[in-house]
């Protein structure tokens, strides 16, 4: 009876037995890379929107304050998405014929909301609060990236828990002066660590064991 397996399979089996550790390591590495990838995290993936709204143009070039549209960011957990009315407060005067803005005008006249695609989303068991972060000197761009350089909006960070925890453990690396919180483009100063330590004290940011407590975000 002929051999079922060719001789070379012996080498293969030996390789797979002795190389198991490496194979597992390689698989883990691949899984890790996939989990990090833009496919999973949506980081740096520009989302298609009904209107190609440019933060770069509105926030950086025109200098419109973040809070003009995201009105509840200082009071509520939710920063707020501008109502059609907010868009129309300018666009009833300017670019009134623009084809790009047709969905805005349609929404305003029909009373049907514009359906935006959500860019930054957290799972439902995470209870994030914008107001307290803004109050404690965490700027918009810390989480939302260089929003003033985004012609259309994408997610800048993975929003994974370890990413959140990193800042909750070391807020001094990210905190900035309250006056700078709403800057659409911000580069931390060279003495960030020194300034950060000072601001953590000044803004009474709670110690890491308090703000890494599970009930801070989960309930």
């Amino acid at each position: 009876m002929a051999q079922i397996f060719h001789r070379s399979t012996n080498t293969l089996s030996r390789l797979s037995i002795y190389g198991a550790v490496f194979i597992m390591a390689a698989l883990s590495w691949v899984a890790w890379q996939v989990e990090q990838s833009a496919y999973f995290t949506d980081v740096n993936v520009a989302r298609e929107q009904p209107i190609p709204f440019s933060h770069e143009h509105h926030a950086a070039q025109l200098g419109i304050d973040c809070r003009y549209c995201h009105t509840s960011v200082e009071q509520s957990s939710f920063a707020g998405i501008p109502a059609t009315h907010t868009c129309m407060s300018c666009h009833s005067q300017m670019w009134v014929k623009s084809a790009m803005l047709e969905p805005v005008r349609a929404s305003y006249s029909s009373g049907e909301s514009i359906e935006w695609t959500r860019v930054n989303a957290l799972p439902d068991f995470v209870y994030f609060n914008h107001s307290i972060h803004v109050k404690k000197g965490i700027g918009c761009t810390t989480c939302h990236g260089p929003i003033g350089a985004m012609p259309i909006t994408w997610r800048a960070e993975s929003l994974y828990m370890r990413w959140c925890i990193n800042c909750h453990n070391h807020p001094e690396l990210y905190v900035r002066r309250r006056a700078d919180v709403f800057k659409a483009l911000y580069t931390p100063p060279s003495n960030q660590l020194e300034l950060g330590r000072e601001l953590v004290k000044e803004y009474k940011i709670q110690p890491p064991h308090q703000i890494t407590d599970c009930y801070t975000c989960h309930r």
């Binding site: 996939v34 989990e35 496919y39 999973f40 949506d42 989302r47 009105t71 509840s72 200082e74 009071q75 509520s76 957990s77 939710f78 707020g80 998405i81 501008p82 109502a83 059609t84 009315h85 929404s107 305003y108 009373g111 049907e112 909301s113 514009i114 359906e115 935006w116 695609t117 959500r118 989303a121 799972p123 439902d124 068991f125 209870y127 609060n129 107001s131 307290i132 109050k135 404690k136 009474k204 064991h209 308090q210 407590d213 599970c214 009930y215 801070t216 989960h218 309930r219």
Partner: protein
């Protein structure tokens, strides 16, 4: 199900056991005393009916086999953790409402109409969705508290079984077709002056609706307005008429009463003023130290109620014998013209004289309250006694009737039936009520109704009555439409809607407006115009006043002034009631169910699953009997008996209730619904089937016979039981012998030994550990529960369920001890089997500082917070249940199945968006309402300050009518909770385990009359 361990409890043996303990023992119920397997399992296991140990059919896969087969799929299932978040849409407003800040709830004052009376509520609204009901602190009937019905009413709003369309002769109709029919009927009755037009409502106190109905009667002089409320206050009204010759509203000032006698009145949990009465009553017995005083409550009652358990002296007496007792009390107090009728009630010899002396010693500060089930004569006697004691104007206040048109409602219904029978009725408009189900069977309402040529029904549900009407119009829930109502003292308030009608429902105001030819009139305008016409304020100031009424939730100055009653009490007219004390035969007592009332909440899962006070029964009603009667009639729990009364019969399961009067059977109304919805239809038996119209509450001559069948009842009495004696392995511990879960003393004993309840010093010590103690430097949250205030009304259980998105599991799952309520009310009995004292104890997660659950979690899903909370992180939980197994208080709840309804769209609106909706395989428990703590902590930090004492209130605390639950920061010595915990009555549960619970209790005190021997 019914084959499972069915050894009827041996009452003789139980009695012997209790005698041998010389009355020293606290017991949780008959099952515990009998030592049933079920009870032993409950003590030893958190989940006594482990699915792995359940008997299985031969050939069926075992749990193990299933696991083996599933291992491969399980391996792949691990990959599901790597799913991407779905892409979501975000939909902003077109024009945002000014007051809404997304993510922040708004609160609106409104009024819940119940039984015709209004209770002030404050409703929490998230982006236009009402999610939670609270009491309105500015409303006199609420003072910030809400009862279980108000708490649960928000679930009714979102009930997917509510009627959604106009139904015309059983088919889907349209509102415009109905408008044509209504107009046709109007034209016809305009021509015949309203002859044949009849309107049937429940009790109405709404000034606007009453005004509209009066206008209808003026336009159609021959028309009639009938009222019928199945569990209404006929006896109260007729009692006042006996005493004063006219209808009078009576309300009580319990804040001024030192000695209270309740004649079969469950006044702390029942009736339009109950929430306020509970607050006033408990304020009068709040203990701060040995110098504090307490009022004294005497209760005479048949069935053990929350009021009876709170009493300092409870006398177990058949309801039909209460009148004789009331007469002896009246005669003893020198009320003229009272005759002693019937046999003298069997009362301990020293009881009545001691009571009389106590009442007389507190003239003007005493109070006698007659129960709503007692016949008018007893109410008349109570008026006479209060008059003789000089209580009128002090603890008893008389005002004009709160009901817009007080009448004898049973007679009103009889008249309607007689008119139908005589063919006088052409058009019958039924507003809100369900007479086909609730009318006494001797009136034969169902078949009579069919003789009416045009029948129109307005109701929340397509129910029994709707089925027999030509037209059914879906009714707007009180959270959906405008209206008004008066409270127990006459205070008027506006019903302010929170949401537009979900199913295009109409309010009674709109339907009556149709009769008046105002089609298209909006309820808002109807109500507003009525109050504008009342000229309470100048016309130009009305708009501002209206706004302030809506904001406050009350219309100031509308409470009725005390009514001078010159005539005095006509005691001589108080003839004996219909039922003399016929002690030879069995008595039957009908009562509305403590959870689902007269049946209107039958389709409310929260209320159906709520363990009823003392019996802890869920999902059923029963025939309650005393242990002695059960022995005499050879009855045991779950025996199905046939109750024959007044020529009719019904089959009911028996339940033995310690403390029930002998030779008496109590049945609860509201069950056995034939068309209630998916939840309520067919649950329990219909006690209305044997309820006669002439004795709707109490009657004698009941016959009872065993059918030999059994019916499985589910009670949570022994679920989550804590071992009261030391466990074998703990024998070395002295204190484990007697763990004192419930600590009780009399006021006199407390004064002698203020720290009678204190835990031993060595147990309180913080040094019983090898590790350094954790320093709690910031906030340290804690709760103090005053058992002296708790009346066991169950409002906190529903408040918790509503706040925390707790799911309903159904009868079979409750049977397996998988009930999900985070907060439970444990009942402990003490003393004799027939006449025990009963005590309630609210138990939720103790937030132990040394939490046993935290140590055993393999995945770190339950951990400790720097503020001392014992955290439960759902998204981390893998469902090992080790934590629950290690919890000595048994306060953890496990989602064995997907109990939360994730598919019914209407229920999405109900959920609190700040609490995770838990899924299958996840442990959950009380979090001290962490979502409320975090919201206030963030608010405080935004304002650069510390959280103020009293700023954070847990859901249970907020709704508690007696303010028995207080939450706060125990690190702040000036906080309320720290002061309460500093009292000498403070004790912890199971401190012998060194768990250091953050929830502690204040021991219960009783204030018995030293002249009465126990």
């Amino acid at each position: 199900m019914s084959e499972r361990n069915h050894n009827p409890l041996d009452l003789v043996q139980i009695r012997a056991k209790l005698d041998s303990d010389a009355g020293q023992r606290f017991w949780r119920g008959l099952e515990e005393l009998a030592g049933t397997q079920n009870c032993a399992d409950s003590l030893d296991h958190e989940f006594p009916r482990d699915p792995a140990k359940e008997p299985r059919e031969p050939g069926a896969l075992s749990r193990r086999d299933v696991l083996k087969l599933m291992s491969a799929s399980a391996a792949f299932a691990g990959l599901t953790a790597c799913t991407k978040l779905p892409t979501e849409k975000i939909v902003p407003y077109v024009t945002p409402p000014e007051e809404i800040i997304p993510g922040k709830p708004l609160y609106y004052a409104s009024t819940m109409p119940f039984g015709g009376f209004g209770a002030g509520v404050v409703v929490e609204s998230h982006m236009g969705r009402p999610t939670k009901i609270e009491g309105n602190p500015d409303h006199p009937a609420s003072l910030g508290a809400a009862d279980l019905f108000a708490q649960a009413s928000v679930l009714t709003l979102y009930d997917p079984d509510r009627s959604k369309v106009v139904i015309s002769s059983g088919r889907i109709g349209s509102w415009s077709d109905f408008l044509a029919v209504a107009d046709q009927a109007r034209q016809k009755h305009l021509a015949n002056k309203g002859a044949g037009l009849r309107i049937l409502t429940e009790t109405i106190s709404s000034p606007t609706l009453a005004d509209q109905l009066r206008t209808v009667l003026a336009q159609f002089p021959m028309a009639k307005w009938h009222q019928y409320e199945p569990c209404g206050r006929d006896t109260v009204r007729e009692g006042a008429r006996l005493a004063f010759g006219e209808y009078v509203n009576t309300y009580y000032r319990l804040d001024r009463a030192d000695v209270i006698l309740s004649l079969d009145a469950n006044f702390l949990c029942y009736g339009p003023g109950a929430v306020r009465y509970a607050r006033d009553f408990s304020d009068r017995r709040r203990i701060t130290g040995p110098d504090s005083t307490m009022n004294r409550l005497y209760v005479v009652e048949s069935m053990l109620t929350s009021t009876g358990a709170t009493a300092d002296h409870r006398l177990r007496l058949r309801s039909s014998a209460v009148e004789a007792l009331a007469r002896s009390v009246a005669i003893g107090l020198g009320v003229q013209g009272i005759a002693l009728v019937g046999a003298r009630p069997n009362v301990p010899a020293d009881w009545i004289p001691a009571l009389l002396r106590d009442l007389q010693a507190h003239r003007g500060a005493s109070l006698v309250i007659a129960g709503e089930q007692q016949p008018p004569a007893v109410h008349g006697l109570a008026h006479a006694i209060n008059d003789a004691l000089g209580n009128v104007g002090k603890t008893v206040v008389y005002t004009a009737p709160v009901e817009a048109a007080p009448c004898d409602q049973m007679q009103s219904l009889r008249d309607l039936v007689a008119d139908i029978e005589a063919g006088h009725v052409e058009t019958l408009v039924i507003l809100g009520s369900n007479p086909l189900y609730t009318a006494p069977p001797d009136l034969d309402f169902g078949s009579k109704l069919l003789k009416v040529p045009l029948r129109i029904h307005l109701g929340l549900y397509d129910n029994e009555t709707a089925q027999y009407c030509h037209w059914h119009i879906p009714e707007a829930h009180y959270l959906e439409s405008w209206g008004d109502a008066r409270a127990y003292d006459g205070t008027a308030s506006i019903i302010q809607p929170l949401i537009a009608p979900l199913y295009d429902g109409k309010s009674a105001h709109e339907l009556v407006a149709l009769l008046l030819g105002h089609s298209g009139a909006l309820p808002h305008d109807i109500v507003r115009d009525y109050w504008l016409g009342q000229k309470l304020v100048k016309e130009e100031a009305f708009e501002a006043a209206w706004e302030s009424w809506l904001e406050k939730g009350v219309i100031p100055g509308t409470a009725f002034p005390p009514k001078p009653l010159n005539s005095g009490v006509a005691a001589a007219h108080i003839s004996p009631g219909a039922q003399p004390n016929n002690s030879g035969s069995l008595e039957i007592g009908f009562r509305p169910d403590p959870s689902i009332w007269d049946g209107r909440f039958a389709n409310n899962g929260w209320l159906q699953e709520l363990p009823k006070p003392f019996t802890k029964l869920t999902w059923d009603n029963v025939a309650l009997v005393s242990p002695r009667t059960a022995e005499r009639q050879k009855l045991a729990n779950e025996d199905v008996v046939e109750l024959r009364y007044a020529g009719r019969s019904v089959r009911a399961p028996v339940f033995v209730m310690p403390g029930h009067a002998d030779d008496s059977v109590t049945v609860h109304l509201g069950f056995g619904r034939r068309r209630a919805g998916a939840i309520g239809t067919g649950v329990g038996f219909d006690a209305y089937a044997i309820r006669p119209s002439n004795t709707p509450w109490i009657g004698t001559g009941l016959e009872i016979s065993k059918t030999g069948e059994r019916y499985h009842l589910v009670t949570t009495q022994v679920h989550h039981a804590i071992r009261q004696d030391g466990h074998e392995v703990e024998e070395e511990s002295v204190t484990a012998e007697k763990r004192g879960l419930m600590r009780v003393a009399t006021l006199a004993e407390f004064r002698q030994n203020p720290s009678f309840a204190a835990d031993p010093e060595e147990e309180k010590s913080r040094d019983l550990t090898l590790y350094p103690n954790y320093p709690y430097n910031g906030y340290a949250w804690g709760i103090s529960i005053d058992l002296n205030s708790c009346i066991g009304c169950n409002a906190c259980v529903i408040a918790c369920q509503s706040e925390n998105n707790i799911s309903v599991v159904g009868k079979t799952e409750v049977d397996a001890a998988r009930d999900m309520q985070w907060l439970r009310v444990d009942t402990y009995y003490h003393g004799d089997l027939d006449d025990p004292s009963a005590y309630n104890e609210v138990v939720m997660c103790m937030q132990c500082e040394n939490a046993p659950c935290e140590l055993v979690c393999p995945v770190g899903a339950t951990v400790h917070s720097p503020e001392g909370l014992n955290e439960m992180i759902y998204n981390r939980c893998v469902g090992t249940r080790y934590c629950s197994n290690n919890c000595p208080y048994k306060v953890r709840r496990f989602n064995f199945k997907l109990y939360s309804d994730w598919t019914t769209p209407s229920l999405y609106g109900l959920r609190n968006p700040n609490v995770t909706v838990r899924s299958r395989g996840v442990m959950e428990k009380c979090t001290y309402c962490i979502q409320r703590i975090n919201a206030k902590k963030i608010q405080a930090e935004l304002e650069d300050r510390q959280v103020r004492d009293g700023e954070i209130v847990t859901a249970c605390q907020q709704t508690c009518p007696t303010q028995a639950i207080v939450f706060g920061n125990i690190n702040d010595p000036n906080s309320r909770v720290a002061k309460l915990k500093g009292q000498s009555r403070d004790y912890s549960l199971l401190l012998d385990l060194n768990t250091r619970p953050r929830t502690t209790y204040l021991a219960k005190l009783r204030n018995p009359n030293p002249e009465i021997k126990e």
